[in-house]
Amino acid sequence: MTTKIKLALLGCGDVAHRDYLPEFHRIAETAEIVAVCGRGEARAKLTAERYGIRHVYTDYQTMLAETEADAVVNLTPMQMHYETNLACLQAGKHVYTEKTVTSTAQQARHLADEAKQRNLTLVCAPCIMVWPQILLAKKLVDEGAIGEVHSARGLGYGGVPPWAGFTSDPSPFFATGGGPQRDMGVYPLHALTGILGPAQRVTAMNARAQASFVIGDGPFVGKTVPLEEADTWLMLLDHGHGTISTVEANNSVQDTKAAQLELFGLKGSIALNLIDGAAPIHLLQTSPKWEWRDIEVPHARAGGPDHILGVEHLVNCLQNHTSPVLSIEHATHVVEIIEMAGIAAAQGQTMNMNL
């Protein structure tokens, strides 16, 4: 019997409690959470009690020094990712990190070096490239179901103020180092570069629709949250080999009827929902006749983004000694796209990517 991979959970905010912990039972045969660390002691203890986690910490340095965990699941606020991921690697731990892995490409490359030097596995969210709807879309494209694909679009949106349903302070999502690109844009950026190949050139426009918003309910109701990053982004990617795509990322979309990802082929299209794994894929084929149909996607989570698959991916890589698909290289590329988009928007100039 294979030994379970021991995991330390770093961060027990809304993301941990909404997307990871309730789904953890699905990988409980191959992994166990042996420690949890949260800034607030009460919340950390509550998390430990609810999920049967043995060791509780409020300081991550202490946890890293003491824990027997093989790997850390890093669900801290985005602005803390570089510092905490680095500390985890330097403590000899494998890492699963939420997105974005770091704020800058330079930081991401540093983490890649650290992981490589220490022979550690670093798995980076978003884990979209292991999500069933993306795998199915990719399979359809590879089978020629829609012909050659040289045009695509994606949309990442959400987290729209005023905030509702959250129990933690949402400010980090809108503070410097956060913003809609890093929070939601990463989904279409990872999907498009994963399916069509890396971006070689990027251009963008950005704008600020709001300077701040007031939290609508929850424990932080009434708090004014400044939008320190531009809240509206449009991007264009050139993937080379005659392929281009467009990505929208913003905090401005309350709802949309457009698909979040569309692949336009010469013989049809695929349209799908990036975030909700329970939603069917829409397939258009133009011959023998013009016809749209829905294809159900087998999914394990009842609805929403199936993030636990990213942790499962880390566990599988560790047990099978394989390199991750959800790699630091892919994540670094997307972080760099976001950086380059910022420069392109400021200068009105298409930027070449360093590849």
Binding site: R153, T232, G242, N250, Q254, D255, T256, A259
Partner: protein, 384 residues
């Protein structure tokens, strides 16, 4: 008793044969506009078009038609790269002008055309006239009312077929073998041909654009029509980013290729700080937006749900000229454009769908091409 205006048409191609000529043949149209002459550089095409639709005279060129027929207005339905020259010739002869989209290829041409218009004192209508359909005006009013809050972003798509697959190009005889290859040569491509509908709708609702950048590529570089093969001279897929004067950022995608979007063709969504506007139904024949909905318009509930929901819809008959047989004929929006020109002439007023917005779109398209070629965002100088 109202005067009946005499029209001459140059360019007996697809939109003329499927649209303008059938519409103007109807009795109700002829109470206001009588098509007295057609012209085409292919003599057999001009002759057979005239015979088929009961037009009394046909000519081999615009110049011959202007010399040989007594006209109040000229209807220009030639390939896009010819629009400017045709319009200038018509204006020089003192005629009112209807010009199909896009009005010209370059901004310099558009400036010259509008100057000639003003100098001659004639009236000009440039397609596509979205302002002639009430839903467009309702959307504009709603945006201006602030119901959506500040419009932060939007997107609009017009991804469709290549023209070489159309029925009118693949039949027998000179009226059914209209050559589509000019769509793939310089001065054409999807931007002034199909994306223009999206650009026109977006600017009609949001106002002028301040800056544009774009990428473009060739999805089907080789095109075949009957025996003719062509390597396309211009991209057949354009992705355009626009920064509006209002601050809104809007993406437009236009392609002359199959593999369409899930969204209605030519539809648009606008994302405001307080709500989303989605065009949910677009009439396939005219491109007129028939219905839209607003969701939000207030606070925001749980993630993924909206508060408040309103729908707006109008049938095609909300356009006063779209009655009876006109509802069954193709390219009905051209008929509405032409009737607007007729009314403007008879009432001696400025026409809606006049040249200023068309010129702005010409500049937008020209600069989108330039941005794609140079990698530099371009600033627009025109407004409307």
């Amino acid at each position: 008793m109202s005067k009946i205006l005499k029209a001459g048409l140059i360019g007996c191609g697809s939109v003329a044969l499927r649209g303008v000529l059938p519409h103007l043949s109807q009795p109700d149209a002829q109470e206001k506009v009588r098509l007295v002459a057609v012209a085409d550089v292919v003599p057999e095409r001009a002759q057979q078009s005239a015979e088929k639709f009961g037009v009394p005279a046909w000519f081999n060129s615009l110049e011959a038609m202007l010399a040989g027929a007594d006209l109040d207005m000229v209807l220009i339905t030639t390939p896009i790269p010819l629009h400017f020259a045709n319009a200038m010739t018509a204006i020089a002869a003192g005629k009112h002008v209807y010009v199909q989209k896009s009005m010209t290829v370059t901004l310099a041409e558009a400036d010259a055309l509008l100057a000639a218009r003003d100098q001659a004192g004639i009236k000009l209508v440039a397609a596509p006239g979205f302002d002639l359909f009430p839903i467009t005006l309702q959307m504009r009013e709603l945006v201006q009312s602030g119901m959506l809050g500040k419009v932060a972003a939007g997107h609009t798509y017009a991804i469709g077929f290549g023209h070489e697959f159309e029925g009118i190009r693949n039949g027998e005889g000179v009226l059914s073998t209209i050559n589509p290859m000019w769509y793939y040569r310089k001065g054409a491509g999807p931007l002034p041909d199909v994306t223009i509908y999206s650009l026109q709708l977006a600017t009609s609702v949001l106002g002028p654009v301040r800056r544009v950048t774009a990428f473009a590529n060739k999805l089907m570089p080789e095109r075949t029509w009957r025996d003719e093969k062509i390597s396309i001279e211009v991209p057949d897929n354009n992705m355009v980013l626009m920064e509006f004067e209002s601050g809104a950022l809007v993406t437009a995608i236009g392609a002359d290729c199959s593999g369409s979007q899930k969204f209605a063709w030519g539809a648009m969504e606008l994302f405001g700080t307080h709500g989303t506007l989605t065009v949910t139904d677009v009439d396939g024949g005219t491109g007129y937006p028939l219905a839209f909905e607003v969701r939000g318009g207030g606070g925001w509930g749980t993630f993924g749900q909206s508060v408040g929901h309103r729908t707006f819809a109008e049938p095609l008959t909300a356009q006063p000229y779209l009655t009876g047989k006109h509802l069954e004929l193709e390219e009905a929006h051209l008929y509405c454009d032409i009737m607007e020109l007729a009314d403007a002439i008879l009432e001696d007023r400025a026409p809606r769908a006049g040249g200023e917005q068309a010129r702005h779109i010409v500049e937008l398209i020209e600069k989108a091409h330039l941005a794609a070629e140079t990698g530099q965002a371009q600033t627009l100088t025109t407004r409307f």
